[in-house]
Structures are given as C-alpha cells and as structure tokens.
Point group: C2
Chain length 140, copies 2
DNA sequence: CTCACTGCAAAGTGTTTGCAACGTT
DNA sequence: AACGTTGCAAACACTTTGCAGTGAG
C-alpha cells in the first residue's frame, strides 16, 4: 500500500480507482491543472469518468487538505498537491503556472500586520507575474 | 471637473453618470466590492442600471488600469481603485478584504527567480489569510 | 451489508454578448 | 451627427446538485 492510498485512508476517504487516479495525477504533475485538464488526461484510462466526479473528488481532497485549490485570475480553479509553503509564478503569455520554492521571509510583515490590526495571520500566498523564458524566446 | 472625470477622459472613456458613479464608488470604498455589491449599492440612485453595465464598466476601467481586478478564492471577483502596490488581508471568518500598505521587499526574491528560471517578473501579489480582530472578539 | 462514491442530466451562479435605444462628445 | 454606452434578455462557462446504481470497507 503506497503512501497515496495511506493518505486517503487516513482521511477516511474510500480508495476508489478514480479517486486514486486523480490524486496520483496531481502528485505527479507540477503543472497545477484545472478540473478540465485532469478530466481530459484521465478519460483515456477511465472512459466513463465524468467531470462531476473530478469536481467532487478535488473538493474532497481539498477539504481534507491533501491538495490546495487556487486561482490566478483565470475562469477556472487550479489544483496543487504540493502542500508545503511555496509561491506561484504565472506567465502572462502562455498562462503557465510554475513553482518557486525560494525562501521568502514574511515574519516581519506578519508581526507588523498583527500588531497593527489585531489580525491573526496563519497563511499567505505570493504570486509572481511575468513572462516565462520560453515565451520570451518566441517573442510570443 | 474633478480628477475622476479627468482620469476617465484621459483614457478616452466617455463620462456617463453610471460610469462616474461606479468609478467614484470604487475610489471612495476600501472594502474591495464585488460587481454584485456595487450594483446593489448604486441601484437606489440609478434604478434602471443593470448588472451588465456594472460588468462592462469595471472591465473598461480595468482595461485602462484605473482599477484592479482580483480574486481571493471566492466565487466572484473583487475590484480596487487603489493601484499602488499593496497587499490584501483576508478574514477567513467574515470574508472581509482589507489593505496592508507595509513595505515588503521582494527584490531579492525577484532577482533570484529571474536568474533561476529566466522569467521576467513585472508584478506580484501578496495575500494574507487569517481572522480579523472583530471576528476574534466575537469568537465567530 | 452499508454507506460513500460514481456518473449522468439538470440546475445554479457568475459573467459575457447581441442588439436596439440612448446620450456624451 | 457619430459613435461609445446602456440595459435588457439570451447565451455562456464553470461548478454544484439530485438521484439511481455501484462498489469499497
């Protein structure tokens, strides 16, 4: 029993083939896919699988915090199985979303903000926007 | 002629009563309203105004960069007439969005990221999530 | 055996579009 | 007078829901 199966069971989620496939797909892919992308990539292996199943599955995985749901200004949400703190880098040309794991120290700002406003901060997101290397080269 | 009118004209946008009302509403309100909120708050003064007009207007204002459009994980977008760089602080309980103008130096990370990946970064967003002072007090 | 999950279709929600009437310039 | 804007209704895209049948535990 691999760790994906264990993670699902630990969160009281039944290990169905569809659910395991969607979860492994997210763990294996760093491209932060949308529901549509997941569905298209998996329907070869699961011809009867429906979009609704993908929606329901990512919602379950998100609820138990095995994956993160986010939106970078597009119509549809993206999903990410990397749950450690990291930033996203979005290319304005090709709309790709990549990861940046560099350390960004936010503690000072968080302290400042908490003292200033009485807010309790427990998370933050950082998104960078620009043009990726590939699009720069293609003058795209 | 006030500066709001000037800003619209400078961007070749006709100064209609609806457009001016929506733009001033955004300039006067720091609560980062959604289209729905703008519509509800203005329809007393403009009983015939339609949601479509609000959508079209914020799109025009966003296109000429008089306002910013963003999303903090809700179903609908929010709009902000503060165009200087600043962060958003989101309360997970009451879903309020407030501003943080504290200086956060990202230059080092941007350099690192640009060297690392060849990305040209020209903007970034920072969102903080937590519980606001009011909700903390209400144990809400 | 039970209850959660799947898959289909239908409904829901936020947003956009087509188009005629209107109003700013 | 010209052309961008408004406002209505219809269309659209993404997501959620209802429900009967299925299958993991």
């Amino acid at each position: 029993m691999n760790y994906l199966t264990e993670n699902l069971k630990a969160n009281k989620l039944k290990v169905t083939p569809q659910r395991l496939a969607i979860y492994s797909y997210l763990v294996d892919n760093c491209n932060h896919p949308t529901v549509e992308t997941i569905y298209n990539d998996l329907k070869n292996m699961f011809p009867t699988m429906s979009l609704a199943t993908v929606y329901k599955t990512v919602a379950s995985l998100r609820d138990v915090k095995l994956i993160k749901e986010f939106n970078v200004g597009e119509d549809s949400n993206r999903y990410d199985a990397k749950i450690e703190t990291h930033s996203h880098v979005i290319c304005k040309k090709c709309n790709s979303v990549s990861d940046y794991f560099g350390n960004i120290d936010m503690q000072e700002s968080i302290n400042d903000l908490e003292n200033l406003s009485g807010f309790d901060i427990d998370a933050y997101d950082i998104n960078f926007y620009g043009v990726c290397n590939k699009c720069k080269k293609q003058n795209f």
